[in-house]
Point group: C2
Chain length 229, copies 2
Amino acid sequence: MKNKVSTLSRIPFFSDLTQDQFGEIEKISVLRTFDKGEVVFFEGDDSTGLFVVLDGLVKVFKFSAEGKEQILHVFGPGEPVGEVSVFSGQQFPANAEAIAKSKLLFVPRAAFVDLIAAHPPIALNMLAVLSKRLRQFAVQVEHLSLKDVPGRLAAYLLYLADEQGKEDRVSLNISKGQLASLLGTVPETLSRAFARMANNKLIEVKARSIRLLDRVGLEELAESGKHGE
Amino acid sequence: MKNKVSTLSRIPFFSDLTQDQFGEIEKISVLRTFDKGEVVFFEGDDSTGLFVVLDGLVKVFKFSAEGKEQILHVFGPGEPVGEVSVFSGQQFPANAEAIAKSKLLFVPRAAFVDLIAAHPPIALNMLAVLSKRLRQFAVQVEHLSLKDVPGRLAAYLLYLADEQGKEDRVSLNISKGQLASLLGTVPETLSRAFARMANNKLIEVKARSIRLLDRVGLEELAESGKHGE
DNA sequence: AGCTTTCCTTGACTTAAGTCAAAAAGGGGG
DNA sequence: CCCCCTTTTTGACTTAAGTCAAGGAAAGCT
């Protein structure tokens, strides 16, 4: 892996490390690849370390007793996965699976803890990462509890537009079925929500590419709660 | 405040600090008291630091456009509140309000960050705290999405029993209305869930004191998803 | 290209849980 | 101990969103 270090330096989470520190991480970490559909870890597995996505996409999710899936988060390049069980408990609190062919860097637990203990800036970076994730969870709880499915979808599309820096065109990086699971619903309901929003001229859907026709309308939909004004 | 240090030493989060470090925290922190119903901070307020609950109860919550409330967490003695915006962003992501007369320790942001940067063990403690909270959020998302109200209630009662170390008797520390908001429902629905569980001889409710009559039945209810087996 | 599999959509039906409204408990303070 | 105020419960009704089932559209393989 000749350019693992240069890859590392592009990961925001490791961004302000010195050359030496990159070397340390490189020494203690292992590159692993996962095919689409391959499990990275199961809920309840003992955690031996964390992963950093170098390439690809990984979903973290829970199952209900009946087999319905709720995606907690989809992680892309540069994001750490499974770090929670490095710092508390030792079992993974959810399942993780690659949803595209992915390259992940595996960093063993003890070595990572040592690294953090020795380098306060890394600790602060990690605190920032966890804090950001807590914010995202707070939003997810808020949306599940206080917004209806169309509202959650509108909010997600606006979030994507922001994320992708596009004004009026976004492209989904996951299938609609997976999006349904991320938004806490089922494909049928999501499909109907898309259809209704298209009817109301809020959006135009072409497969995974969506044109936002009426930002204001979308914002209203996203703001409104379970029983729209 | 003569015994602030001794209070601090009983806070798990600060538990393995040295005497000197307690002194440092004491120097940089301020004691504040809040009456029941008083706001600690609003969502969107600029964060100037974090709070640690010494005494009382604080709820952290979001509002929907229509005014429905979703409680994200209820914090009791020993728990830090508002730490997320210390490490990422600078605005509070949710509202906080005392739901009982409370004593909170306010720790200014910059001083706390310095403290953490200087003392890796504190950083690791903080990482553990945030990780634990992430786990709790993951559970909350899972429950909101995958369990019905009776299931969420049963899971909560079992969690409380565990928390309180009692086998078959738990006492609610918040009102049923607040519990409804914590479980992502409304008082009417929660009340009906309690009534049905009592009818089915799973529990016996006397105001805020609840006797668990059938642990196995409760566990089944808590495990089952939105459409019981 | 053609075949197969997976993904997405649509229709008809069911139901958990919300709303509104009003009555019944419960809990301090005077 | 009684009154006021908040909390909780119950009843009747409505609806968002789930289920089941079937058809269509894409996507991947050889």
